[in-house]
Amino acid sequence: VEIEMTNSDTRKVTKAPEVLVQDLDGEAVLLNLDNGQYYGLDGVGYRMYQLLITSDSFDSAYEALIQEYDVDPQKLHSDLKNLLDDLIKYGLVLKLKQKTKIK
């Protein structure tokens, strides 16, 4: 499947040090001890989170997910981006580097 995207995203993120993660048999909850914010993830969301923090970039995480799930690529890309934006907004992950390339 080839999708048309204007940007490639090489953002790499890592779990923020003050964040605790609780695995709930496939689902998960992330808690930021500093601000008390928590974020609940269902099974798919948790898989997205795991790939985001272990992959080299957003794009790598996306590529892995598109192999795993039978899903509309645009929708997946948008959901993954929204999740990453939320995780950054709530201080649950830290950006390690950010670089944007125009195709």
Binding site: L20, L24, D25, E27, V29, L33, G36, Y38, G40
Partner: protein
């Protein structure tokens, strides 16, 4: 659906089946008001567990989407709350372990981390730990140094078995027990015996202790039946069920029978275990209940207890449990005696760090205790007296149960 029916429905959802295919639920889902079931689960503080078992039984499709989301949100919220509490407990243990003060983890924290299959399933209000009486002053000193303070002045909190600490930024309380039973009761769990049989555990990468399974079950039954007259709802029965299942192969039932009797708790233990077996299929061998020495339990007592369990949380913010003992008594002289003993907690039990009380200090205690009682309970006591708040039926049940448990 009446409260009792809701309880029976939830018992079926929460029941752990021993054999595949035998857990069919006999309710018609079309008749279920799931909003009501969610509210009832919340009432009993068991919505994460209900959600977990609904999913485990493959029934999530019968939930309307908005109810599914409410359950899931509660599940995640409880996971986040417990994460914070366990993090806090880890700091407490680190602090006390550095000072070589042994700590037994009690009730919620132990159950959530070591008995339930995942730590988000069991809600926790407070953290409860047991420390040896002579170590209480040192433990308080160490915890004050890491940011805790006495939540209730010791002169007020003189019920004789724990002290309550808190931190400004965390809403949960830390209850440090040196005993599990209040003085002046008809039963007694000796702390020395508990300490002698503790088992080592690890929580949050810290070493700690837990009650041995037999002591834990007796304590849970005592807390459920006597301290709260089953008014804490469904959750305590589920705690006991899961504890029995967790230690099933290692449980010394003979020890449970003999200690329950020796400690004056055989009826509390027998009735609580009976309910667990009856409604949750808890694997308790038949001879255990027969050998408890309290004969066949009166069916009326069982029905009364089920009503207490079902309606229990309705009066969770009720006045001190001792007030029900007062209310249940008919003779005015006895009422006054019980009030002084169980509500006013006289004579005050010395707080471990307090100096020996003079008459002046005892008078000060009485004054502070009175102010505390008025401040905390005046509204609910007024409702209880003026409007017969909990109703004659509940009062009658309390009276019947108390008498039966203490006979």
């Amino acid at each position: 659906m009446m409260e009792k029916e809701k309880s029976l429905f939830l018992f079926q959802i929460l029941k752990i089946s021993e054999t595949r295919g035998s857990s069919a639920i006999s309710f018609h889902f079309n008749n279920i008001d799931w909003q009501e079931i969610f509210a009832f689960s919340t009432f009993h503080n068991i919505e994460p567990l209900v959600f977990f078992h609904i999913k485990e039984k493959g029934m999530e499709n019968v939930l309307p989407p908005n109810i599914y989301q409410q359950f899931q949100k509660s599940y995640h919220q409880n996971a986040a709350c417990n994460l914070r509490k366990f993090h806090e407990l880890g700091q407490i243990l680190e602090c006390l372990n550095k000072s070589r003060l042994p700590v037994v983890i009690l009730k919620g924290a132990f159950l959530a981390s070591c008995v339930y299959s995942n730590p988000a399933l069991r809600s926790m209000q407070d953290l409860d730990i047991l420390i040896q009486r002579q170590s209480i002053p040192a433990a308080i000193d160490k915890l004050i140094k890491i940011g805790y303070h006495l939540a209730i002045p010791p002169w007020v909190n003189s019920i004789g078995f724990h002290v309550v600490l808190a931190t400004p930024e965390i809403s949960s309380r830390l209850e440090i027990h040196w005993d599990l039973t209040t003085p002046n009761e008809h039963y007694k769990i000796p702390s020395d015996a508990l300490w002698a049989s503790t088992i080592p555990i690890e929580i949050e990468n810290q070493q700690a202790l837990a009650l041995c399974p037999e002591h834990l079950i007796i304590h849970l039954c005592q807390h459920t039946a006597i301290n709260h007259l089953f008014m804490q709802g469904l959750r305590p029965l589920i705690d006991i069920d899961r504890t029995v299942r967790r230690y099933r192969d290692d449980l010394g039932w003979k020890k449970i029978i003999s200690l329950s009797s020796a400690w004056g708790l055989q009826k509390a233990v027998a009735l609580t275990l009976f309910l667990c077996r009856q409604y949750l299929d808890t694997p308790i061998p038949e001879p255990v209940l027969e050998n408890m020495g309290c004969g066949k339990i009166d069916p009326d007592i069982i029905q009364d207890t089920l009503m207490q369990v079902s309606y229990g949380s309705e009066i969770a913010d009720a006045p001190p449990a001792g007030l029900f003992k007062v209310q249940a008594e008919n003779k005015i002289g006895r009422k006054v005696g019980l009030f002084l003993k169980y509500v006013f907690c006289l004579p005050p039990t010395p707080y471990p760090t307090s100096p020996k009380r003079s008459k002046l200090l005892t008078a000060y205690y009485v004054f502070r205790r009175l102010i505390h009682l008025i401040g905390h309970y005046s509204g609910s006591i007024w409702k209880l007296i003026k409007f017969n708040w909990v109703g004659n039926e509940v009062r009658h049940r309390n009276w019947i149960l108390l008498r039966w448990l203490q006979e």
